[in-house]
């Protein structure tokens, strides 16, 4: 067990790039991403794993980065909202959020999009109940969720149309 009061080096991949983080072992992954890598698209809403604004993917799993000690991501592949679009081309989910009105104030949006992308990776054609469950860990105070559900459905359809 490393000394909790001294910074350690952690090697991981973030949005496809190798990174070395220097952080206290129990520092939150959220802070390492935001403060060290300046990836501020990942937001803090509650700091206790309730709101999902800090959602990121760690080795493909959806996690609240406010609850993950940075020590745990040694060797991991991390994806944040900044890694969802491929250069200029938005991901189908991002485009659908714009088209359907899934983003209002936008603060929950990065986490919500990460959760939706993760849902579609696991369940490419989710039914309504699966969409609701898949997004239940991400709180939105603006939309009442209807347009977010619609965006997920829309993203499935546009992905289908392309393939």
């Amino acid at each position: 067990m490393p000394d909790a009061s001294r910074k350690v080096e952690i090697n991981c991949t973030v949005n496809g790039e190798r990174q070395t983080l220097h952080a206290y072992p129990m520092a939150r992954l959220l802070d390492a991403l935001r403060e060290e890598l300046r990836l501020t698209g990942t937001k803090e809403g509650c700091g206790e794993g309730e709101c999902g604004a800090c959602s990121v993917l760690v080795d493909g799993a959806l996690v609240n980065s406010c609850l993950v000690p940075v020590l745990q991501v040694e060797g991991a592949e991390i994806k944040t909202i900044e890694g969802i679009a491929s250069s200029e081309q938005l991901h189908a989910v991002q485009q659908a959020f714009i088209t359907c009105g899934g983003a209002q104030c936008g603060i929950c949006t990065p986490g919500m999009i990460i959760a939706a992308v993760n849902l579609l990776e696991r369940t490419p054609e989710p039914n309504e109940a699966e969409i609701r469950t898949g997004l239940a860990g991400n709180l939105c105070r603006c939309t009442g969720y209807m347009r977010i559900f619609e965006a997920v459905v829309h993203a499935c359809q546009s992905t289908e149309a392309k393939s």
Binding site: E48, C51, L90, G101, I107, A136, L139, C142, G144, M146
Partner: protein, 740 residues
Amino acid sequence: MHIVGKAVPRKEGRDKVTGQARYIDDLHFPEMLYGTTIRSPVARGRIKNISFAGDIPWDEFVVVTAKDIPGENAVALILLDQPFLAEEFVNHPEEPILLLAHPDKYLLEEARRNVQLEIEPLPAIFSLDDSVNKKEIIWGEDNVFKSFHVEKGNVDEVWESADFIVEGEYRTGAQEQLYIENNGVIAIASPEDGVTVWGSMQCPYYIHKALLKLFNLPEDKIRVVQVETGGGFGGKEEYPSMIAGHAALLAWKSGRPVKIVYDRAEDMAATTKRHPSWTKHRTAVTRDGKLLGMEIDFVVDGGAYATLSAVVLSRGTIHAAGPYFCQNVRIKSRAVATNVPPHGAFRGFGAPQSIFALERHLNKVARTLGLSPEEFRRRNFIQEGQTTATNQVIHEKVDMDGLMNRAFELTDYHAKQKRFAEQNPTSRQKKGIGFASFMHGAGFTGSGEKYLESVVGAEATVEGRVRILAASTEIGQGTNTIFAQIASEALNLDYDSIEVAKPDTGNVPNSGPTVASRTTMIVGKLVESAVLGLKQTLISSGLLKENYTQADFAGACRSYIEQHGALKSSSKYKAPPGINWDDEKYEGDAYGAFAWAVYVAEVTVDTVTYEARVDDFLALQEVGKVIHPVLAAGQIEGGVAQGIGYTLFEKVVWKDGRMINNQMTNYIIPTAADIPPLRVFFEENPYLYGPAGAKGIGELPMDGPAPAILNAIEHATGMSINYIPLMPESLLEILGGERA
């Protein structure tokens, strides 16, 4: 080219879905310090001593107390009773007393825990009842921040001739706005350069006004800039003045940029919430179901300082008698003080409270009369040409009856009513359907808009791009998009050629606060006339003809700017004709226009788990012309979701004046799994004085859910429940008690 009515892409949509949108906590300034607030642990008391304990390098810290304030120690709003930092007395838990700043936020937190306050407690009061009964006088002479008296006809004469007199009492709880982005600001300040604040906010000019007094500086030495704001709902109307003042004081003393961003626990415990309320109704009706007289006593809990309670009370008062015609109405209302953190603006602004009471009470009146809730309302709906409680003659085409018909059709209301009544006796799951019919006035109440004198500017570039200059903030509701649509429609130019400037008091005129469902209807109208001013200038200078293309317009702008310099225009609020309000008598045209609505809720109450769930929700409203169908529906859906939370999920638990469930873990808002299908429908009846015919809609959806849901629960269970939030433990008591 018609762009009004079309679902164009939101202006800042791409930045928001890619994580590029920068909110206040995403900004970092060189040499920046972090600031924190030392708050009162007691509800009321006298500060005896402050000491700095622990193994903390205190000399590294910037420390600010009330003594460091260069100007006046009062948050300028309506009254000047609330200090930025308590000096001798504290009046509520979490009241700010002292500020600290340091470059290391972890050490700052250590230091915060080591500031020791010695406060001699004084007797405090925490409930509406204790305040009204003057158990202790804690504010002014009688604990009353403000009272109103609306008097129409002669109420005293109706009681004798009434066939029935129905009384009822209704209560509502506090509610946290719970924007997902906590409050935050960054300030830089010095005597030479003045004060600049960036932050999450609804009302840049409120902060501007508060900082003027706090620093005693000239207007041009204070600059307030809104950055991307992660939701407000009223919660970032007045409170940001406080936090901006704090960050600016630390910056002033240290000479360095200071960031203060609250964490969730601090934001929930220390900042404003919706005013708790009680309403007492006494209603006289005839046997055939006509309203003869209404006497309404409405009281809201304002917390420890006056803040905005007077205006919250005003809106609640004016909406208390609803969209019904009654010749004799008396409404007496009060906002009173308690030793809790000041309650403040929250979507609906007093109206959800008084409308909840009315729409529950009218069901009781109907039951007394032996009429259905529907039939009783139909006999009393206000008609064009009739007067509201404040004697405002309704000049718009209003058709509450028609709205009700359509709402019932869309929900299969009558068939469900019948079916549920048949199925319920043999089912553990009791189903019910209920509705609320209501109105919501858009814009500031009474003469408010006249006093505000809002201004919007517009300017054109040599490329023919048009820029709108307003202090109205984009907080998720779509200000940027709506303004661009209005301008595009008015000028017949591409939506993409319209830009909306970032609200920055150094650069935009004061278009008033972003509140009161006024941004589209009031400010949007000013946008329309400001941009039309640009066109008029081009036409009268002979550079443009009435029928023009985008290229003609751009060419004309170029020629004009080359010949005359900048092409600018501005527009100032003028009340529509025939709007008159008497502040003394509290009588007249309270609002330029109302939105009208009928909402229907379908519920299931589980008699084993005591959960009440909303299964379906229909929101039908007449809001004038809908400018953007997706944004408009998004406003209604979001508001209804907050309304469902207000009714069944969100309970602020108080202990000695402090919110003790100040975490998302135990203050529960509806999730994606909890919200029923929200079905939104609009009737469009263009409002003559709104931009492209639009009226305000932002607050409306907060009014209907609570009464509609409790009316549905009454239908499901036969129990008449007159308070919210209604939690499962209350249902257990009510229904369990009944069975035992």
